[in-house]
Symmetry: C2
Subunit: 364 residues, 2 copies
Amino acid sequence: MEELKIDLGVRSYSVLIGSGILAGAGKILQERGIKGRLLIVTNPTVARYYLKPLQKSLSGAGYDHGVIKIPDGESYKSLRQANRIYDALVAGEYDRKATIVALGGGVIGDLAGFAAATYMRGIGFIQVPTTLLSQVDSSIGGKTAVNHPRGKNMIGAFYQPQLVISDVATFRTLPEREFASGLAEVIKHGIILDENYFRLVSGERENLLSLDPDFLTWVVAGSCVIKARVVEEDEMETGRRAILNFGHTLGHALESVTRYEVYKHGEAIAVGMVAAARIAREHGLLQDKGLPEQLAAVFASFGLPVAVPGLSVQELMAALQVDKKVEYGKLRWVLPRRLGEVVIVDDIPAALVEQVIREMGGAK
Amino acid sequence: MEELKIDLGVRSYSVLIGSGILAGAGKILQERGIKGRLLIVTNPTVARYYLKPLQKSLSGAGYDHGVIKIPDGESYKSLRQANRIYDALVAGEYDRKATIVALGGGVIGDLAGFAAATYMRGIGFIQVPTTLLSQVDSSIGGKTAVNHPRGKNMIGAFYQPQLVISDVATFRTLPEREFASGLAEVIKHGIILDENYFRLVSGERENLLSLDPDFLTWVVAGSCVIKARVVEEDEMETGRRAILNFGHTLGHALESVTRYEVYKHGEAIAVGMVAAARIAREHGLLQDKGLPEQLAAVFASFGLPVAVPGLSVQELMAALQVDKKVEYGKLRWVLPRRLGEVVIVDDIPAALVEQVIREMGGAK
């Protein structure tokens, strides 16, 4: 088991990464002095595999706990479902010393985290992420949120967990598409900050797809280290943290215009990363001119999409404008200069963006 | 104009207190480097008197701003109304650099503050409190919240404003009951930490009720200083800050069982303070045995209630249990030892609480 410390002053916490560690969660919580009652927030899909082992472990360690299940899917990352969690907390008379345990992927983590951040102005929060995407991305950095009908993650809070327990054995029950979606974020971490990590991950297709426990532990820990380094520098995303949004500008717009029903998050940002690389090239920023094609080849090898066939250019351009990355009316792009280095720019002409979307298959 | 600095590290901010300063808000914002678009959140009652002067001042200083009105009343401090603010922000394409300006009393401040804390994980927030209660209480300390049907302030966040503009001239349009409600918090500050302040305020009934601008500026600044001192020591209410909840344990229960329709907040906590003093006496904590009667006399002189005629003891006891001040199942009370000193205790027998409620007029 690897332990990674996220250093955020009084809000510091540990991320534990290993294979089969979920079934020892109760003992882990005990050793780390977690007290009070627990409310597990999960979804039916994840619950089928992991709720019983988790509950058994928590009960074994003497934890009084309840469970609330949220329907599976991004469309349930809503204020309405957050309100269901509040209702469960109030009905169960959970007090300020209670802790929410998020068992599931990014939707569960973001939603449960938002509820934990806002119930009684903040109660305990522990993440047990069960997808590659949530282990390398949403469980690090304290971004919690729900979606607004007109934009992803529009309502949220920065709120750090007390502990993250990342069990890579959970990937065995993960659909292939979900796993590939997580790989998009893994690869993103390499592109923005670490060329070597990018080359090692993208070159080890077989080890990844065979779910080798040691290699997966290394991959997840490596991604978490890269993300943690950025978050530690800029917890509240006032500056540099924005580089983690590489691929997310167009990615969020894609998810939004397709109502979160067509693309997995990682799929949308894979498209977004290829688009960002193309925009960088057109804008004269890219040193390695072949990067867009190189990225597209890697993503495609994992079954990730790299184009936007048939989507309306006009709708995508409109969706870009409501993105959180708009500041003082200017859209902010994270663009690559080369593998391992990105820059943040806000002077990309709309016409250039339109042109790239059209080249990638966007329709009138 | 008095300026009080609230020292909370990177979250520090200034409170400006004076008579007639609301009409100069635009210039004040400009001088303090506030940029971006503004959304004024207010209610129709306050808007009638103060929206136009505020808008004129903001427009004069070149601020692009919108307005959203929330119906007047505690029952609108809800997740539903927070959602209306989100909708307005999204529809108006407000970005991360936008600022919410809360123009109104505590309901508007708490609700608008919660929206500011959670829209895009936190945008700018400025308070222009127009009631005595909100100037001396909710505008200091960064507590934002909405109510849950089963409990006050159950959903919220700690979120500091960038600036507070407290215009004591707004009390001229404040109903007498609202003004008295604010005085309850003013007097509370004296009881918990400053006997002299208590004596000066409670002895100056005429100066208070005649709304003398200089005296009011002194009273508001004095209360803000006391509250700020406590908040600076314990921003997130992990310990000592709880002393500010003096009178609030029973006070919140009173508001809850009467569905926020009978008591103004200050009225409820006036009753709660008298009850706390009685509980302290029964429990053997009170050094000054006459304090309950002394407090009751002062509150009554300002038209504040000091008993609970006819309310169900059973319902009040049940409401106490869902209060945020319950920790590990124990109810926490803030009780006076003497004027200027309170202690926090969690070992008050339910029977004693019941007895005091009954003595104060509670019914079977």
